[in-house]
């Protein structure tokens, strides 16, 4: 149904006076077509291409170009990107801040991606950090987190959190799903749990203080998934502490569910439901050894129960 048809119908129903109908028709006829997100997407893809192209270039062409010139060139580009972002920086406020320039946010992302390439190559070729490998990952983490707060950039916050995860030894690439994680190692599980505890605590504290409260969503999306995966990995792999991990998972799921209801962001409710369901099913299957009849019956009942739960979470809120 086109806006024009709707307009005519409202007019015929006597819900709109004729003058207003003409004004709205005029606005609709002259409404320009927005290319905003298409252009932003192209810009974004361009940045990803440029940084990954340069990242490849370093390792491919060092014979004929010379290490230092490559490193210097990319470093210069990185500094210019940061400098531009700083030049058009938004004013610092604890609240949500819009960048005054349409390109500042993108320059910042480019700077950060190039920084990773430069740093990685400098360590690879010159071992500038020596054997202090932790430093290689904690440095971008600290830098990105600081930049994220200063420039109010949720993407850079996500990058910083990913670097933090790399620091504790977790390999995460969300677009490749979680299949490529290294969660078979006890130590990785404990580090991931400790990290998620600290980060969620800090995020909660910042939200209480009113410092960039809109960052909480990103924190919970990135670190929340880390926490839930780590708890699940604990249930799967750490047999002697399985009970503790199960309690932890249950508590985390309840907390996420409560948060989802309070903040009306149901993504977290879905996360709680899916991770909780996997954990519960695994535990039931491992300890009760159900036969196939009981197991299929369990699928029927539990699936149905979760559908009812998911759909009613909304209507409960509507009543309030």
């Amino acid at each position: 149904m086109s806006p024009k048809e709707i307009l005519n119908q409202l007019y015929q129903q006597g819900l709109l006076p004729d003058e207003q109908r003409q004004i709205i028709a005029d606005v609709e006829a002259r409404r320009p077509f927005s290319l905003h997100w298409e252009l932003r997407s192209i810009l974004y893809v361009g940045i990803l291409f440029l940084s990954s192209g340069l990242g490849l270039l370093i390792y491919e062409n060092y014979d004929n170009l010379g290490h230092l010139s490559i490193l210097g060139g990319i470093g210069l580009l990185c500094i210019s990107a940061y400098a531009y972002a700083w030049y058009v920086r938004p004013p610092w406020t604890p609240a949500l801040t819009q960048s005054p320039s349409p390109f500042g946010d993108y320059a910042l992302v480019l700077g950060c991606l190039l920084f990773l390439s430069v740093e990685g190559y400098a360590q690879y070729e010159y071992t500038i950090f020596g054997a202090r490998y932790g430093l290689v990952t904690i440095l971008p983490a600290v830098l990105f987190l600081g930049l994220a707060y200063r420039f109010d950039h949720r993407g850079v916050l996500g990058m910083g959190l990913t670097a933090l995860m790399a620091w504790v030894g977790v390999t995460v690439r969300p677009l490749d799903l979680y299949l490529k994680t290294n969660f078979f190692d006890d130590r990785v599980i404990y580090s991931a749990l400790a990290l998620s505890g600290v980060v969620i605590g800090v995020a909660w504290l910042f939200q209480k203080q009113g410092i960039k409260p809109h960052f909480t969503f990103t924190y919970l999306l990135v670190i929340g998934n880390l926490l839930l995966v780590a708890l699940l990995a604990g249930i799967f792999n750490v047999e002697k502490l399985r009970f503790l991990f199960a309690i932890g998972l249950a508590a985390a799921c309840v907390a996420f569910d409560q948060y989802a209801r309070r903040e009306q962001s149901f993504l977290f409710g879905l996360m709680a439901a899916v991770y909780g369901y996997i954990g519960l099913s695994y535990l039931l299957y491992t300890y009760l050894h159900p036969d196939e009849y009981v197991f299929t019956f369990y699928l029927l009942i539990s699936g149905g129960a979760l559908v009812v739960y998911l759909l009613n979470a909304k209507s409960e809120r509507a009543k309030e």
Binding site: M1, I6, I42, L48, E60, G120, Q123, T137, F297, I301
Partner: protein
Amino acid sequence: MKAYNPDHIRNRAIRQQADRWQREGLLRADQLMTIRQSYPVLFRESNVFAEIGAFLFTCVAVGGAYALVILLMNGLVDNSISFGAFNALVSLGLVVLIYTLIRRYNFYRNGPDNALIVLAASFLLTAVNVVLPNDTALWFRCLLAVPILLAFAVYYGDVIVTFITLLAFYVGLFTGLLEFPWGRAALPFVLMAVSWGLWFLLKQVRIRVPDPIYYTDVFNMAEWIALIVLAAGGNYFVVRELNGLLAEVVPGQPHPGVAPQIGLAWLFWILTFLIPGMYAYLCFTRKDRMFVILGILGLAAAASTVRYYHALLPLSVHITLVGIALIGGSVLVIRYLRQPRYGFTDVPDEESPRQFFLNAEVLSVISATGATMNQQPDMKFGGGDFGGAGAGKEY
């Protein structure tokens, strides 16, 4: 024949448009209230994430129930007639269940009904396919599935079923053509002609169908698919590589590593650029988001096709230059469109799913961060006290 109340779907569209006008200050709040009262919508409201979850767990529940009944009725699977009848019965049961959900609980694409529609269609297809003799050709099975699926798509106006319908249609066409000796050569032309015809037909039906708004999603999905297949059917890379894959291996000769050159190569090179170019042109004249996206992606695919066969530069340099071109181009256009020009603007409108893009951006940079940190060779970088950044399994 429509499963959902088409009046309420229309009312919902009117309400959404009125909401938008009110946000833009074109309607007063009291006018909006009157409009909302005049156009009631009784549908259940739900959150998109709750819907995704509900879809998922509906499939789990139905799958569990289905498996349980099969277990309880011993030997059901062995007889094809009885198994087919059982599947048809399950499908019928699900259709009744959807009917109840819609009529009694005001479901409208809230997840469970979407899942049940897809499942009901799948079980009916299973029933038909179980009963058919084992040696029935794939193309026949696919083309037989099309009217069944189409009935579901028309009755429910469901997008996923529409997608499966088109999939069945194209797979049927594809495998059917290969039955003929001239099929492989005619394949790209038939696919292009059929897609073009399908798109044209969709345009006509959209104008003439009594409740077009009931089928908005269905038509959009079908148009996307038709236009994508049309572009792919003319793309040199797709035609050449597919032709190479379909070529019969001559006994005693090793399979050629490179797909051989195709006949009429010049024609396909022209089509590789002509079809996406048409889309890009249409995006200027029609101001249609579908053509904008298809034009951009299509031209990108055309450029990649050239690069695939005639690589002038090493990959890293190529990617870098493409990146620079994309950044430069988009920056120029963004600056150019500060004022609306030729009916285009850079100001975001409400049509675009803002939140989705934000999340997609966060996800893609995280992925890029993860990838870059893993890129460094293991020798001096990985390992170490913390398991290192490059400790992933594949390294």
